[in-house]
């Protein structure tokens, strides 16, 4: 555990090297010829992801690097692959999107790979210092990405809001970490795990520790957009460029959940194991937040006329469902979260891929401007519809099985709180069905206005086409051929619970 074992972090190394190469190339090429940068980034992400998969095959239990501050187990491998795929999809989208932007191609790709690197690190976090830095690596990259369209005041506004609130959250996170450190004298997560139960024995550090965990959760709650730290989400989703929003909604949220799961397990796991009273009040707190998040996201989304903003609200709602899994706090719950995120990957990125393409044509994100998509672009309409319905949780699509597992995990608790949360969750399902179907209605039931911008989109790039197909197939496969993915999620959840 105490060896350096640098080779274990090879995916991150690969990303770092490709980022450096890209930086170098970026400095050497004129602004309109950034293909080299793009290639470097692509190669980096692909190789890193493949490497992670290889690592996954050879993995036996848990391995450590950097003297125990970096760990690799089934859980981290799973998320590295998820992040890798996310990054690839986002890059495919940004390649399409960047064609409409004349400057900053290099920077955009660089920021993408930096954020990806942060996510890879996040998946392997074993102590709070790594956690903080990895998280900030992601966040700061996203600050830049959000405000990327510097001639668009909406983008800038989104950037400012994200930066200020993000920094605020970072401050809380840092303070929380400081308190945890104060209570335990260590920054290692596993030390927290070992002291979590012990601290309950009348030790003064107990309150400090719990307070620290609370503030840490505030910081992470911001990342996953849980109530009451959700206010930034719709604005940033709306203002940022579509590929960035896609990256935010999948990558950033998943990273937040990875950390949340790790912290929660380290902190609450021992508490729950020893059956302490505090565990149930933490459970109630998370249940409360989950319920509020579901309600806020889904109710707010009903009135949105802007698809990206709608997806922002819906993303809050999904955070709520994922928190339901956290509330369950058991193997089933973690499995459910992991499965949900896997499903969410294909679903939400499929949706955003279509959003990017349609925006290129109509220059609009208004839901009304999707009218007639079903007739002009049947394939895109199919992907978008399947994506939205999967978000709503309709079988046989991926989102359904995720939601089913979440509900299953919560109801397994069998308590009044659990049943109430399930009831709130089901209300959310119904409401979400409403607003997703409102979009579907535009797509299929409304006709595109005469002389409107809605036409058949041609010249979809190959990577983009691949993204669309993979997402479509993924949505169906994860919804029906569950077993392989389920066992992946179960293995990862076991690895997480094992520590």
């Amino acid at each position: 555990m105490n060896e350096w074992n640098i080779g274990l972090a090879m995916p991150e190394w690969i990303l770092a090297i490709s980022a450096l190469v890209a930086l170098f190339l970026d400095a050497r090429t004129p602004y309109h010829r950034k293909e080299g940068v793009g290639n470097a980034v692509w190669i980096g992400v692909i190789v890193a992801t493949l490497w992670s998969i290889m690592q996954g095959f050879g993995l036996d239990g848990k391995e450590y690097a950097f003297r125990g501050r970096y760990g690799l187990d089934a859980f981290s491998v799973l998320f590295k692959v998820i992040f890798g795929i996310t990054a690839m999809f986002v890059m495919a989208m940004s390649d399409t999107w960047l064609k409409r932007v004349d400057r900053g191609h290099g920077e955009f790709r660089l920021l993408t790979i930096f954020a990806t690197m942060g996510m890879f690190f996040v998946a392997s976090v074993e102590d709070f210092a790594t956690l903080f830095v990895a998280l900030e690596l992601i966040t700061v990259s996203f600050y830049c990405l959000t405000a990327f369209k510097r001639n668009d005041v909406r983008s800038i506004e989104a950037g400012i809001k994200y930066i200020v609130l993000g920094a605020l959250a970072s401050a809380f996170l840092l303070l929380g970490i400081a308190f945890i450190y104060g209570a335990t004298g260590s920054l290692l997560l596993r030390d927290l795990a070992s002291s979590g139960a012990a601290d309950q024995i009348g030790h003064a550090g107990g309150a400090l520790l719990q307070f620290g965990v609370l503030l840490t959760l505030v910081g992470l709650g911001f990342k996953i957009a849980a109530v009451p730290f959700q206010v930034w989400t719709p604005d940033v989703y709306e203002g940022a460029a579509s590929p960035v929003t896609a990256f935010l909604s999948m990558g950033s949220k998943a990273a937040g959940f990875v950390l949340l799961l790790k912290v929660v397990r380290a902190c609450l796991g021992p508490m729950a194991d020893s059956g302490l009273a505090a565990a149930s009040s933490w459970g109630a707190l998370i249940a409360l937040l989950a319920g509020l998040t579901i309600l806020y996201g889904n109710l707010g989304a009903m009135w949105q006329g802007n698809l990206k903003r709608l997806l922002g609200y819906s993303s809050i709602g999904h955070a709520g469902y994922l928190l339901m899994g956290v509330m369950a706090f058991n193997h089933a719950g973690f499995t459910a979260i992991l499965y949900y995120l896997m499903a969410y990957l294909f679903t939400v990125l499929g949706v955003f891929a279509v959003v990017v393409l349609v925006n290129g044509l109509t220059k609009s994100h208004r839901v009304d401007d999707y009218a007639g998509l079903g007739r002009t672009n049947p394939f895109l309409a199919l992907v978008l519809t399947c994506g939205l319905l999967s978000l709503a949780g309709v079988p046989p699509l991926a989102g359904f099985f995720g939601k089913f597992l979440i509900f299953r995990a919560v109801i397994a608790k069998g308590t009044v709180v659990a049943y109430s949360l399930a009831a709130v969750g089901s209300l959310g399902v119904v409401v979400s069905m409403y607003y997703y179907l409102c979009v579907v209605k535009r797509i299929y039931m409304h006709e595109a206005p005469e002389n409107g911008p809605m036409k058949t989109i041609s010249g979809i790039s190959r990577p983009m086409m691949a993204v669309l197909w993979i997402c479509l197939i993924g949505i169906f496969v994860l919804g029906f051929f569950v077993q392989p993915f389920m066992s992946l999620a179960e293995q990862a959840a076991s690895a997480l619970l094992a520590g």
Partner: protein
């Protein structure tokens, strides 16, 4: 022969996939798509009829044509297909309605490909529900049927009085979803309780049916599952989605919707709520006996005040489903068999009704009876079919509706409805009288609809209309009438199988014990 149940389920799925890769550029292409859909639905029909013939009503095992495929082992989830007497009737009903529905929707010419893909997807869902013996897949298919329905109504539907088709279809979808999610919570609670009490965490209904739950659990959770599914039946006052849904839907979809989808709820109550929570059913069904009277009478009266034919049939459906609920509430052999039989009969009958109304809506673009009049003169075939339908619906002997309603009434007469919580008992004759009076009401509005639309002097606006002439257009209507008449004249064909299924329900087996306890 268990592969038959797979054939039934998979045939529409294959059709779905096949049509997805067909092109739709010319009329010939469209015809090819239609033929594909009809062809595969014929496969389902033949397979389900084969199941019907091969089903052994006296067998000791409850489910036949069993297929078990492990799905997610760790949570005890498997794709288990099979039929008992009850689901057999429903599968046959579905395959008939779908087969005719595919033919009736020939008239759709816009986006034919999408239409048939969605129709077939809907079929997969419905067949899946009736064939699944696994709670998860039951729910899975149940939910799966909802969205194709949404799109089918929303895209190819028509305005329903003052409501737009978008509104109607959204309302329908949200109601069904709400019901489904509520039921899901109940199902999961049952699943876990079964695991806790019985030791095996499994979604297999056969496993769950072995577990005896505590009375308090049953009494708490029965209403949840029941109400979740009752919204689809639809139980009064949860019915408001159904008439406008019917009215807005294109003909093939309203056929499926009224004919089959509404039966999903009652079937689910019978299969899940009654089978896993018999004591809960015993406790609560008295209230249903009361509420379904509202269904019967209120639905009929509202139908009486309607002028749009689809609304008339729509409200009449909710009235007729009241009989189904009444049959369920009786909790005895006659009532339950009658309820299942009525589900079948009503399914065929409404399919016929909506097929016909849809057909002539395409000719006239109106469904309001005041705009019509004397149509029998120009449309003798359609009119005759309609009158036969109305007669069947009004409970004329010789059609399955009569036989089944008679069974429900007999069952209700011999039953007592304990109103849990009030200490009162509703004697059997009260709902029975409501049920019989409901027949009078249904005759009233149906005859009035016939008189206003079909009889009387011909409205000159319609003198140019063309009747159903070609054999292929007549086939679905004739087929449905034949089914109604054959099962109506020889109900034993179907009832023998239904009563086998009903007799193996847990409610039936535990009833004497509980009655003794009550004494």
């Amino acid at each position: 022969m268990s592969w038959l149940s797979i054939v039934v389920l998979v045939a529409p799925l294959i059709a779905c996939g096949r049509i997805l890769f067909m092109k739709e550029e010319s009329d010939a292409d469209r015809d090819r798509i239609r033929q594909t859909a009809i062809g595969w639905s014929t496969v389902s029909l033949v397979a389900s009829l084969a199941m019907f013939l091969l089903f052994d009503a006296g067998a000791t095992e409850r489910y036949q044509f069993l297929v078990e495929i492990e799905w997610v082992e760790s949570i005890g989830l498997g794709l288990i297909l099979g039929v008992d007497g009850i689901s057999l009737a429903m599968v046959v009903l579905t395959s008939i309605v779908i087969w005719t529905g595919c033919q009736v929707s020939r008239s759709i010419t816009d986006r034919v490909k999408e239409h048939y893909i969605l129709l077939m997807a809907l079929c997969v869902g419905v067949f899946g529900v009736f064939l699944s013996i696994d709670l998860f897949f039951f729910y899975f298919f149940y939910e799966m049927a909802v969205i194709p329905m949404y799109l089918l109504i929303g895209i190819w539907g028509s305005r329903a009085a003052k409501y737009s088709k978008e509104y109607a279809t959204m309302k329908l979808t949200l109601f069904l979803t709400t019901g489904a999610v509520v039921a899901l919570i109940g199902l999961l609670a049952v699943y876990f309780e079964a695991g806790r009490v019985g030791g095996v965490y499994s979604f297999d209904m056969r496993e769950i049916a072995k577990v005896t739950f505590s009375d308090s659990f049953q009494i708490t959770w029965f209403p949840v599952i029941f109400l979740g599914f009752a919204a689809i039946v639809p139980l009064w006052p949860l019915h408001s989605w159904s008439p406008i849904g019917h009215a807005a839907a294109p003909s093939s979809v309203s056929m499926l919707h009224a004919g089959v989808l509404m039966k999903l709820g009652a079937y689910a109550i019978l299969r899940i709520a009654f089978d896993s929570l018999p004591a809960g059913a015993e406790h609560w069904m008295g209230w249903v006996g009361l509420l379904c009277c509202m269904n019967i009478l209120y639905g009929g009266l509202v139908a009486m005040a309607q002028r749009d034919m689809k609304f008339i049939i729509g409200f009449s459906s909710s009235s007729h489903m009241g009989y189904v609920l009444l049959g369920l509430a009786t909790m005895n052999m006659l009532g339950l068999s009658g309820a299942v039989f009525l589900m079948f009969a009503h399914g065929i009958m409404t399919a016929l009704a909506f097929g016909l109304i849809g057909w002539f809506y395409e000719q006239t673009h109106t469904r309001v009876v005041d705009d019509l009049g004397g149509m029998l003169k120009v449309l003798p075939f359609a009119g005759t079919c309609f009158i036969i339908m109305a007669m069947a619906s009004a409970g004329l002997p010789g059609f399955a509706n009569f036989a089944s309603e008679l069974l429900v009434i007999l069952g209700a007469w011999k039953s007592e409805f304990v109103l849990a919580g009030t200490g009162m008992t509703l004697p059997g004759w009260v709902p029975t009288m409501a049920a019989i009076w409901g027949i009078v009401i249904s005759a009233t509005y149906l005859l009035r609809a016939i008189r206003d639309a079909w009889l009387g002097p011909l409205n000159p606006r319609w003198s140019e209309l063309k009747d159903v002439t070609s054999r292929k257009h007549k086939t679905p209507f004739v087929a449905l009438i034949l089914v109604l008449a054959v099962t109506g004249c020889f109900p034993s064909l179907l009832v023998n199988k239904i009563k086998d299924g009903v007799g193996k329900l847990r409610v039936m087996q535990s009833a004497p014990v509980q009655e003794e306890a009550r004494r």
